[in-house]
């Protein structure tokens, strides 16, 4: 049984993974309401909240009698906010020492990368090693507030980054777009909500002109074009056309994601397409990518909604599924890596 801890940003989370049964317990304490007032995560508040939230969550697992079966501890050691990561790592080191079990550092982005496979494993745990072969090589898209990444997983379960954003992440484009439009935080869900009643073709936002061979994403120009438009329209018009603005802007973000993902798929060889990260919660994006995969005869594997945001389930799963991608804590030398990259 693997116990995982995640505290890279604003969620304090614990999970237990039993290879024979899948994820058996997941606990999460979200700080979204706290940080909503500030328009995003505030580092020192987040750090203090993690310090406050871990003990009661761990106490609950202890009372449930779950900690006795733990044979390894896994913890997110990067990327993320330094203070937040440090609290999780300190708690994980203490637990591993107390339980006398090994500690593994897990790359948060690897957690997202593998999260599309969690449901596949849970459906038939003993057959997973055999079944996963059918879905490899895999192309995955991670879309979150801080990252937009296309990566491949080969038959050896090795992850190779195919492309990333040149400037802003997709989730950031939505959050900043929401801010320019006078909406609140978190911006992505607010834009998605508004977009339901709007026309996607009401405004023509740039989709970026890049050579077709270039798979990298760029959302900075889109953000700036929205700013130009907001200034041209004026506050009254922006309010009156808010649904259309949200629908058109969101569509530009989705189109950019779909176009590059489709181009990567068309390079061939992939048997499945994965979608994960906080922005993968967006229903329209899910539907568009599912269609993209189906048209090419590729299986679509999207992370389950509870595993799209930051969670410890994906950390436990990655520690089990991809031990070669994790860092064993030898002689307590494991440290936080706030700027850890995927791959």
């Amino acid at each position: 049984m693997i116990l995982a801890l995640e505290s890279s940003c604003d969620e304090t989370a614990l999970a237990l993974f039993d290879p024979a049964r899948g994820l058996t317990r997941e606990l999460v304490h979200s700080q979204v309401a706290l940080h909503g007032r500030y328009g995003g995560v505030v580092p020192d508040l987040a750090t203090r909240e993690h310090l406050r939230n871990f003990p009661p969550l761990l106490e609950r697992l202890r009372e449930e009698g779950e900690l006795a079966a733990v044979t390894a501890v896994a913890v997110t050691h990067g990327p993320g906010l330094a203070g937040c990561l440090a609290i999780g790592l300190a708690a994980a080191k203490a637990l591993a020492l107390e339980r006398r079990v090994p500690l593994w550092g897990v790359n948060h982005l690897r957690g997202h990368a593998w999260s599309s496979f969690i449901a596949l494993q849970a459906a038939d745990p003993p057959a997973f090693d055999e079944r996963i072969e059918r879905w490899l090589p895999h192309l995955g898209l991670i879309v979150s507030g801080g990252n937009t990444l296309l990566f491949a997983i080969d038959h050896g379960r090795r992850i190779a980054v195919q492309s990333a954003t040149r400037d802003d992440a997709a989730g950031e484009a939505l959050d900043k777009g929401a801010k320019l439009l006078g909406l609140g935080y978190p911006g992505g869900p607010l834009i998605e909500q508004r977009a339901l009643a709007g026309r996607t073709d009401a405004y023509d936002f740039p989709r970026g002109i890049q050579p077709s061979g270039d798979l990298s994403f760029s959302f900075s120009g889109l953000k700036t074009s929205l700013r130009y438009l907001v200034e041209k329209l004026g506050p009254a018009e922006v309010t009156a056309r808010l649904d259309d603005l949200c629908a058109s802007y969101q569509q530009a973000v989705i189109d950019a994601l779909v176009r590059k993902t489709a181009a990567a798929l068309d390079r061939g060889g992939y048997t499945s397409l994965g979608l994960s990260g906080g922005v993968s919660h967006n229903r329209k994006l899910r539907a568009a990518l599912e269609k993209t995969a189906q048209r090419r005869g590729v299986t679509f594997l999207a992370a389950q909604p509870q595993h799209t945001g930051d969670n410890a389930g994906m950390i436990a799963f990655a520690a089990w599924c991809d031990p070669a991608g994790c860092v064993r804590d030898d002689h307590s030398g494991l440290s936080i890596q706030p700027d850890l990259a995927l791959g």
């Binding site: 580092p43 203070g83 400037d167 900043k176 700013r227 706030p338 700027d339």
Partner: protein
Amino acid sequence: MTILDILRAGVTTASAEETRSYGAQLAAALPRDATLALHGDLGVGKTTFVQGLAQGLGLSARVTSPTFNILHLYRNSSALPGPVEGNTDPPLPHHRNLPLRRSDTRGLTLVHLDAYRLENAHQIAALMLDDFLVSPYCLAVEWPERIADWLPAETWHLTLAIESPGRHRLTLV
């Protein structure tokens, strides 16, 4: 005219590439361990300018927006490989008045901070920022007005603004 004269007089750029090129030129004129404050609203080109700064500092890494993570670190890997361990070595003495020549950028760390959600020194402590400011470094700060009290007195200030769609104004204060 030097790049400092040009930027002090103010320039208008017509593309992101042009904004980057001024960033690259300014990098060569900044002293060692400089702090550069980038003033300007959403979408004016702050991160774009830092992309140029990184190029000018000889860093090949792709510079992306630090908004979500608040802090991004880029190290010149041509020397001193491996992570910067902030507390293990005593900081080198600061040589703030020495110009940062290209040959001096080995081992340099570019620290890119988005202070939008910061308000005080406690919040900077939670980022462990001081641990990452190991000489030689260059600290670029977006939304610097949020942490005005924390910024060193010798901080360089650049303002960015939109003149009209597609035309952005850069001025070194």
